[in-house]
Each structure stands twice: as C-alpha cells, then as structure tokens.
C-alpha cells in the first residue's frame, strides 16, 4: 500500500518474506567462508602469545561473541524504536528473531571468558565491572524473551518488549566503557579506530574474520527465524495462505 517509499515496500511482509528466503543461503555461505578463513589464520597460522601462551586463542571466539552480544542488543533497540515510533509490523518481528541469538552470544561471551579467566586470572569468575555488566546483558536478553513470551497478543508483546529494550539499552555503553571508567582486571580495548592496533596483524586479521563470520551467522539465523514468525503472525493474510498451499520451502 505504500508503494511510494521503497523502504516501506521492503517492510511489507509479503515482499520481505521471499527476499529473506533468498538471502539466507548467501549469508550462511559467507559465514562458513569467513569462519574457515578466520580459523585457519587464528588457529593454524597465528604465532604464540608471549604472555599467555596458546591460551590466548580463545580470543578468536570471545571477542566476536562479546561484540555481537552488544551489537545485537543495539540493533534490537533500534528496531524497537522504529516500531514504537512508526508502528511498523516488521520491526517487532525482527527484534523477536534476533533475541535468542543475542542471548546465546552473551552466553558464549561469558562461557569463553570464564574458560579464559581460569588459566589467566586463576578464577572462573570475578565480580568486576565488565563481567558484571555483560552478565546483566544476558539477564536483559532473558528478561526480554520472558516478557514477550508471557504476553499472548503479539502486537502488545512487541510494544512492551520494545519499551524494555529501550530502557535496557543504557547497559551497552556501560559494558563497553566499563574498562575505562573503572579499574578492572579485564583487558581494555586493543582494537580502536583512532589508535593503531596493539596486536600482531595476523591475530588481528583472524579476529576480524571471525567477527565477520559471527556477523553473517547472526543475520542468516535471524532471517530464518523471522520467516517463521512472519508465517505465524500473518497466517490469515492471503499471501501466507498462498505460500502454504503452493510450494513451500
């Protein structure tokens, strides 16, 4: 109905659904390629760290997972803001589709961090600002999932969940800057736009490739999930009926 705006046209579920379907394999493929390249660089080529020995190789998962956990939350908050401001149907579904993956990323960040902390700091867990705020992020993800699951009317769930996302988003900068604001055990940023990276360039490339892999993986899974949500929510529209009775993929 909003043919005048391109953006709106893609936001129309009937258009977005097949588009997403076509994009999924591409992103999945890219994720695999980046992942293999990153692993090859990081696990096979990169040299031993002079301080941490081989244990540092956890970085190739820990950092991408940590980044993604924060970034996904930001993206969800962005969709929430759009949804609340313009009442677009798709934005809530996008947030819903991203949330489980975001929670898993936060979990992975904690898990790999814990496995890293034991050999480096001598403890699975310490209560410092970054670790704590990352834990809060996991709780926020789970809170969002629980809240939207508890509300049955999907539109109401979207709105309430969106509001929660907007309130919780203050936590993300806290995670990111915690190492600067507080004196913590956790390492500060070693990749930054203004400084030249303080890491060996092979390590850096390995990490960036892995980050790209995580990124593509997230997009692929989220698109797959949003397609299911679309079918469920729009089941009474004609296009879904056509989709279901015709060939389905």
């Amino acid at each position: 109905m909003n043919d005048r705006f391109n953006l709106y046209r893609f936001a129309a579920p009937a258009v977005f659904y097949p588009l997403a379907g076509r994009l999924v394999p591409w992103f999945a493929g890219l994720a695999a390629i980046f992942g293999l390249a990153g692993l090859a660089l990081g696990m096979l080529v990169a040299p031993t760290d002079f301080q941490q020995g081989e244990g540092y190789r956890i970085i190739f998962i820990h950092v991408p997972a940590s980044w993604m956990s924060m970034f996904i939350y930001l993206v969800m908050a962005f969709w929430a803001a759009i949804g609340l401001a313009f009442n677009t149907r798709l934005s809530g579904m996008m947030a819903q589709a991203l949330a489980p993956t975001g929670a898993l990323m936060a979990f992975l960040s904690l898990w790999t961090g814990a496995l890293w902390g034991k050999p480096m700091w001598g403890a699975w867990w310490v209560w410092d600002a970054r670790l704590t705020s990352e834990l809060i992020l996991l709780f926020l993800y789970i809170g969002y999932l629980a809240l939207t699951a508890a509300i049955d009317d999907p539109r109401r769930a979207d709105k309430a969940g969106g509001l929660l996302l907007l309130v919780g988003v203050v936590n993300v900068p806290i995670i990111y800057f915690s190492v600067k604001w507080w004196n913590t055990l956790h390492q500060g940023a070693s990749v930054s736009l203004t400084r030249s990276p303080s890491m060996a360039s092979v390590m850096l490339w390995g990490m960036l490739l892995m980050a790209l892999c995580f990124w593509m993986y997230t997009i692929a899974v989220a698109l797959l999930r949003v397609r299911t949500i679309l079918l469920e929510r729009e089941r009474h529209t004609d296009w879904v009926k056509a989709e279901l009775t015709g060939e389905t993929r």
Binding site: W124, T132, F139, A150
Partner: protein, 222 residues
Amino acid sequence: MFGIVIAVIARDLRLALRRQADIVSALFFFVIVVSLFPLGIGPEPDLLRKLAPGVLWVAALLATMLSLPRLFADDHRDGTLEQLALAPHPLGLVVLGKVVAHWLVSGLPLALLAPVLGLQFDLSADALVVLTGSILLGTPALSGIGGIGAALTLGLRGGGVLLSLLVLPLYIPVLIFGAGAVDATVTGLGGQAHLSLLAALTCAALGFAPWAAAAALKIALE
C-alpha cells in the same frame, strides 16, 4: 483415592507448561539473587566461599516463596477452588496434588541449577553434590509449609508480603539444616546428619501440611 492427586498434578503441570515463562522466571530469579550478593559484598573468593551455602539456600528459599502466592490464588480468583472444595473427596488430597506439582516446577529445577551457581562461588565437587542433595531433600518441605501460608493468606490484599512473613520463620529450620549440610561438607565434617534431619522435616511437612492447608482453605472460602 489417589486418582484425584494424579489428576490435580496433571492439570497443574499442564497449566505450568502452558506458561513456561513462570518456571524459567523463577529459575532466573534464583540466579539473579545469587549473583546480587557478590555485587553487594565484594569479590574476595575466600569470603565468597564461606558465604556460598547461606546465600544459595536463602536464594532457593526466596525463589520458592515468590511463586507461593499463586499456588491457590489463581484457582481462587476464577472460582475453580470452590469447585475443588465441592468435589466429592477430601480437600487435603487436592492440596497434596497441588503441593507436589509446585515442587516439580519450582524445587526440582532449583536443585538442578544450584551446582552451576555453586561454581561461581568456587565450591568443591563434594560440596556441590551435598548442595544439590540438600536442596532436593529440603524443597518439598518448603512447598508443603508454603502451602499452609498460601492458604492462610488467600484472598487477602497484600497477601504476598504477609505470606512471606508467615512462612519465612517456619522455613528457618530447613534453611539451617540445608545450609548446615553444605557447610559441614566444606569444613570436612560431613553433612550426613544434617541431611537426615532434612529428610525427616520433609516427611513431616508432606504428611501434615496438606491437611492444615485444606482447613485454611475452607475458612478462606466461607
């Protein structure tokens, strides 16, 4: 005779599954409360290890308690409780069914989760096993005693807080033996004695509580 107990358990479990969010939320409440303490107290591992049994048990107790107000409240509000009271069998059996169902969706998952949280406090493997065992043994008593409190405060405004007021003092023995068992293991004394006391408490609670709760329910329904 026990058909009705099974029927009640089946119905309550189905309702619980219909709103899984509840089970999950209670668990995460447990996780969060446990995590709050190190935040408030500070990160020294030695101190934390000493705290662990107490904190974990207090958190388990609070998590069980939080879901208590709804043990009968939903049934009361929508009139189902009246129907249960009018059914041709002793009300105590119905309450027993509800208590068991409550334990299955609250106490049991807590016991399964507790060892993971124990790791955060750097507990030994032995202590973790005893922790799990003590929670498994102790939580049925919590559900049972809680049932009495829930029945007594049914339909009262502010029931939630009043309920904790009534129930927490009664929970103290369970807490002491439960945390004591873990503590004894940590200090190398062995938690055997504490655990048997806990088991005795649970048996007593499950035998007695349903009937007391049933009596309280009848008063609430007048």
